[in-house]
Symmetry: C2
Subunit: 128 residues, 2 copies
DNA sequence: GGGCCATACAACCATTTGGTTGTATATAGG
DNA sequence: CCTATATACAACCAAATGGTTGTATGGCCC
């Protein structure tokens, strides 16, 4: 298994966002993170669809890493993976950071009579 | 238009996560938030696909509210909507909060000889 | 006006998705 | 051992996705 140093690969992000783009799957994640005891069939009982459908949803979540299954006799205990969720949120934060750093760049220019850039070597950043 | 008091409806979350579940679209959002001047064709020039394909991606993003277009002569200036992105991140945070509050509930029980609540019934938690 | 450029949009196609039913396998329990 | 339960998985289907090309529309400029 390739270790990705805490940054998610594009295809992983695809999977994560895809997995979260379904209300049933988000609800499953919510239940699991809330600590609901969850075999696959216990989950399936909650939704108005076939067992196989819920099973597929769980598989999608598992593929994305948002959920993991551990065998326990004939049943599988499904567990939420809050870490994966946190990393997904961080990915969104990084996107937002692009915006924030752009804004602070703009602020810098707007609030300053003599912006730091025009000179060849930037002068010792004036106040602020 | 129905005003949703700062909480996203399930179908909006579907759209948002769906929109983000594609690397090209995430890249478009990233460019826009970074402040890149962006008409639809300027964006299209960046990717190895037809203009119409990029146009569709922008439409998906616009539908999700992650992007907005404003007419400027014959071109449309595409703008990122950081607020929508922030709300999406908040939705993930809320999911994580379920986990966090569960954990704090567990901690409360585990780390306390006499918790504030258990009182009338429930015997003073016998360690372990 | 005429032509070019940016955009929009329809039609089409292959693949994926989200659901179904049906079947197979393994484990628990009488 | 036999049966019922929990899960897995294949096959099938309708609808949505992600791409294509082609055509229409509307603004810019000569």
């Amino acid at each position: 298994m390739v270790v990705w140093p805490s940054t998610l690969a594009p295809s992983e992000l695809d999977q994560l966002f895809r997995a979260l783009a379904d209300a049933t799957r988000r609800d499953i994640v919510a239940r699991l993170l809330s600590g609901e005891t969850a075999t696959v069939s216990a989950l399936a009982a909650r939704y108005d669809m076939s067992f196989a459908a819920v099973q597929k949803h769980v598989a999608v979540l598992e593929q994305a890493g948002l959920v993991s299954k551990v065998a326990n006799g004939r049943e599988r205990i499904v567990r939420g993976e809050p870490d994966r969720l946190a990393r997904t949120r961080e990915a969104l934060s990084q996107l937002e950071d692009l915006w924030r750093s752009r804004i602070s760049r703009l602020d810098e220019v707007l609030s300053e009579g003599e912006p730091p850039c025009p000179s060849p070597t930037s002068p010792p950043t004036p106040k602020r």
